[in-house]
Structures are given as C-alpha cells and as structure tokens.
C-alpha cells in the first residue's frame, strides 16, 4: 500500500509532457503540415511547425522562365484560388510595361477573381464545419464550388491550376455558355449560401466549438504580418482591393466585413460575409460588361499572342508570335511591387527586371507563409481538437506556404 502512495507522489512531482507528432500527413490537417506538439494531457503546451514538405523553388524557377511562362507557377501557390494568383502576376507585368488595360477586361477579371474568392472561402468555411463534425454542409456546398470550376473550365480549359488570362487580357472571348453558367450560378448560389449559413452560423454546437478558439488580438496580428480575412477577423479593416485598388476595384461598391475577437468563429463569419460581398461585386460587374463587345485584351502586341490565323498569314504577327514564344521580348529595367487581395490576404509580387528575358529576381509575398508562424502562439494552452480547427480556419494552403 505504501509503495503505491510513494509512486503517486513521485509522478506528481515529475510532470512529463507527451510529444505528439501531428503530421506531416494527417487526415485532419488537410495538407502536408507537420507540427511537433508538446502535450500536457490534452492541452497543448508548445508547438513547433516544420514546413517545406512541398517546396518547389518557385522563386528560382522564375529566374529561368520568360514572363509569360511564370503564370503556370503562380497557379500552384494558393491552388484554391489560382485565378487570383494568375491575374496578380499578369497585372505585375502590366505595371512594369505600363500597359493600358481596357475597362471591359478589368471587369471580366474582377468577375473571375471574385468567383475564385468564393471558391476559396467555400473550401475554408465548409472545412471548418467538417472539423467541428458537420460534414453535411461540406458535401452540399461543394457542388457549387464545382459549378465555379465549370465556369473556369469553360474559359480556359482547366479547373484547378487554371493558368487563366494572359498578359494584357484574356486569351479568347467568353462564349455564350460561359455567360449562361455565370448567370445561373449568380441566380442559384445566394439561396444555397443562405442555407449553408443556416446550418452553421447560429448552430449551438458549432458556436460553442468555435467561439474563443484560436484567438488573435489585432496588435499581435499586425505584428505577425497577418493580412486578409484573418486580419479582418481581428478587427483591422485592411483590404488591398480598397487600399490600393487594382483592376478598377474603385468602380465598385462593397463593404469590408470585420470581426472583433479574431477567433475561429470571427474568421468564419468574415469569410461568410466576404462571399456575399463578392456576389455583390460580380453582380455590379456583370451589369457593367457589354457582352457583345469584342475587346478582350490590351494593345500589347509584344506580349499578347496574336490569333493563329494571323500568325500563318501575316508576317508581323508571325514575328510577334515567335518573339513571345521564345521569350525575346524586351522589357523595361525596373522594380515593381504589385499586391492583390488573394484568398488569404495580401499576395504580393516583387519583380526585379534587368531587361532580360526572365526576371532577375521575383519574390512572392505569400500570406500563408507569413501568418502561419503565429500558429504556435494561437494554439498554446488550447485543446488538440481546437488546434485542428484553428489551422483550418486560418486557411493554410500548403502550396502557398512552401512555394
């Protein structure tokens, strides 16, 4: 009997932490993330994230590729909203070469970018539902993500890694079926989103799981370089679309939703409201676009591939075609930084050109990479199940994290 008592005392004195390897591949982390957790029972005492499992050296690759060939790389950053990355890159080059983009093209880009923002937020928000145990919303709303991907497929032939658009505009006119798909999405989606919200927003179980989980205060969020929905959930109304409007976002009326506590619930709510605002923007853009207008690109013949018939029949077009494909186009010397509001925040392209066929240096500001370093601080002292929830609500995308 006395032996048992001694033992009990000894264990009480020597408190031991359990080391738990969460990842690299774990069904609950939705991607390749490793976190070595130091656990005190079910409470997380400390965490060390290890990243780089899908690092593909994009910045180095970009130093070899001509400007037009860098777009497919950007697809693979945040692959949940590739079109935003594609267009962000195109706009960076357009800024460097000082191209004047027609309004129609800019509005068409906005339609695509907002659709992909909706697709991105659908994934994040429905996955928060899955991690709290509500699989229904996920399986239901994913059909409408599929419809967005069908629109992309109609425009560019690809679904996930889209490579949509070209430097200067779009590669071809949108077809009647594209417009029809966009119209039907705009007609049907609001009711679906409403229903999805009904499922989770005021759901007692969902609220109890998410309110107060993984909170971050505004000053810490800024210190950690948060941008996008995660920063807005903490109460800072910073949105690149409003602060530094690109692609004529200044012509549109929309609100920036902000949260207060910066917890999982606030992040969910901010993304939810952003989807409504995106719908509002698309609606305005559709009204502004003249569907019969043939303009689909800016007048930048040195960067925009001429139509194939002209290449075969017109010498000038043949020369441009050759120069673009071989990457022989002259670009100005200079440095530009262009930022777009990606699905996760400020996605920046810092491009240094020395006039050569490829960038001298291209640095991507990947919002995921920057804010994921705050993850240990967010989950310290919380339960393991909240850590999973926090990660999915931060929308950490492995492609963007590792570049």
């Amino acid at each position: 009997m006395s032996e048992f008592n001694d033992k009990q005392e000894a264990t009480a004195e020597k408190k031991e932490f359990t080391t738990l390897n969460l990842g690299p591949t774990h069904p609950a982390t939705h991607g390749i993330f490793q976190n070595v957790l130091q656990m005190d029972g079910e409470i997380i005492h400390d965490a060390v994230p290890t990243i780089g499992y899908i690092h593909r050296a994009f910045e180095k690759l970009a130093e070899r590729r001509p400007y037009a060939q860098i777009r497919p790389i950007t697809d693979r950053l945040n692959y949940c909203s590739s079109p935003i990355n594609n267009m962000g890159w195109d706009m960076t080059v357009e800024k460097l070469i000082k191209a004047q983009i027609p309004k129609r093209v800019e509005y068409m880009r906005i339609v695509i970018m907002e659709l992909s923002r909706i697709a991105d937020h659908i994934i994040c928000n429905s996955v928060i539902g899955v991690d709290t145990g509500a699989l229904t919303g996920f399986t239901y709303i994913f059909q409408w993500r599929e419809k967005i991907y069908e629109i992309f497929e109609d425009i560019c032939g690809a679904r996930l890694t889209t490579n949509i658009g070209r430097i200067g505009g779009f590669e071809r006119q949108w077809t009647d079926s594209t417009w029809a798909k966009i119209d039907s999405f705009m007609k049907e989606f609001p009711a679906i989103l409403k229903e999805f919200e009904k499922l989770l927003m005021r759901n007692r179980i969902f609220m109890e799981r998410t309110i107060g989980a993984g909170p971050v205060k505004a000053d810490r969020a800024l210190e950690y370089g948060f941008t996008g929905p995660n920063l807005r959930a903490a109460g800072i109304d910073y949105d690149v679309r409003v602060m530094n409007p690109y692609s004529s976002y200044e012509d549109f009326q929309f609100d920036i939703p902000i949260g207060k506590e910066g917890d999982v619930y606030d992040r969910f709510m901010v993304r939810e409201e952003e989807m409504w605002q995106s719908l509002r923007i698309i609606e305005q853009a559709l009204k502004k676009i003249d569907r019969k207008d043939p303009v689909i690109h800016a007048d930048v013949p040195e960067f925009f591939l001429p139509p194939k018939e002209e290449v075969y029949n017109n010498m000038e077009a043949l020369i441009y075609h050759f120069k673009i494909v071989m990457g022989e186009t002259d670009v100005p010397v200079g440095e530009v930084y262009h930022a777009v509001e990606g699905g996760n925040g400020e996605l920046g392209f810092y491009l240094i050109s020395d006039g050569g066929r490829t960038p001298y240096r291209l640095h991507f500001r990947r919002p995921c990479f920057i804010y994921y370093q705050a993850y240990p601080e967010l989950i310290k002292g919380s339960m393991l199940s909240d850590a999973i929830l926090t990660m999915s609500s931060m929308n950490v995308i492995a492609g963007e994290l590792d570049a």
Partner: protein, 175 residues
C-alpha cells in the same frame, strides 16, 4: 533607373527623405522613386536603427513589414547582397522600400525580429536561400530546404538546371 512617377509618390518620397536626412544624415546613400514606391538605400550599419525609427516614429508610423527579401548581385563587388524591406503605414496607406547592401564575404546583418515578430520566418527564409546571417536571430535555421544541405540555392552561381545536361542546346535562342 529612376522612373517618372506620380505626384503622390514623389511627395511621400520628399517627406520621408526629409525626416530620414534629419535623423541619419550620414548613413543615407541614395533615394529614388521607382514606379509607385519611394526607395531609400542606407548603410548596413544603421539599418536596424533606421527601421526601428520608421516603425516607432509617430508621424511616419511604418508599423507593418510587408516583405523582406534578398537580391544577389554577384558583379557588385563588396556589396553582393541587397536586403530589401518593404514597409507599410496602413492608416495613411503609405508604402516605402528600404534597401541596404552587404558583402558576400561577411554576409551579416542585425535581425529585425525584435522590431517585427513576423521577420522571424522571413529572415529564416533568406538565410536558407542566400546564407545571409541575421545576427541576434532567435532561431536561425533552414526553413524550407532540408537541414543538411551545404549550399544556398538562390545565389546566382547556383545552377538553374543540371549543368551536365547535353540534350539541350540553348545557343541559338535566348539571352
């Protein structure tokens, strides 16, 4: 290299330049406007002081570190690495770019992790790819590459593809 820029950027440039000159007259190497960014180049000895001043000064208030990256110029002897800091003042929406050069022989620069928490991983990334040593950094280890590689892959001398390949002839095209 200076590009004709808009009045707003020029005004921001002039205003920030005046404040920097007043405080760091000797260490300021040059300043230009490049597209929509005012760019200031400073001596590497004072980079930490300059960044701390820009963040903590109530008027300037560049409280947000947008990007931190390195550029390698192998021909620029004695100043091979360029550290680029892009700062943002969100309330007034002002952005500036600060540059400083360090030699490849002694690639050391003080860390800014004490000014911005977010610089932690950014600096680890630059160490990983360029071998820039940020003195005072709490945990300067590789972040994206594996720990036991011995080279710094973003340096210009590191080949972009396998140099022993002979199935490709680029001599006709490309520059």
């Amino acid at each position: 290299m200076a590009v004709v820029t808009d009045e707003k950027t020029q005004a921001l440039h002039d205003q920030t330049l005046a404040r920097l000159q007043e405080k760091f007259s000797a260490g300021l190497v040059s300043s230009v406007c490049d597209y929509d960014f005012p760019v200031f180049t400073v001596e590497n000895e004072i980079i930490h002081d300059v960044l701390a001043f820009l963040k903590n000064d109530a008027d300037l208030n560049y409280h947000f570190l947008t990007t931190l990256c390195t550029v390698h110029y192998p021909e620029n002897h004695g100043k091979e690495f360029c550290l680029v800091y892009q700062l943002h003042n969100m309330p007034q929406n002002r952005r500036i770019r600060i540059k400083t050069f360090i030699p490849e022989q002694k690639p050391e620069i003080p860390t800014v992790t004490d000014i911005w928490e977010t610089a932690n991983w950014m600096e680890r990334q630059e160490y990983d790819f360029f071998g820039v040593k940020f003195t005072g950094h709490p945990n300067l280890v590789r972040i994206l590459n594996m720990e036991d590689i011995t080279f710094f892959p973003m340096r210009k001398e590191f080949p972009l593809e396998d140099p022993t390949r002979d199935d490709k002839n680029d001599s006709m095209f490309g520059r």
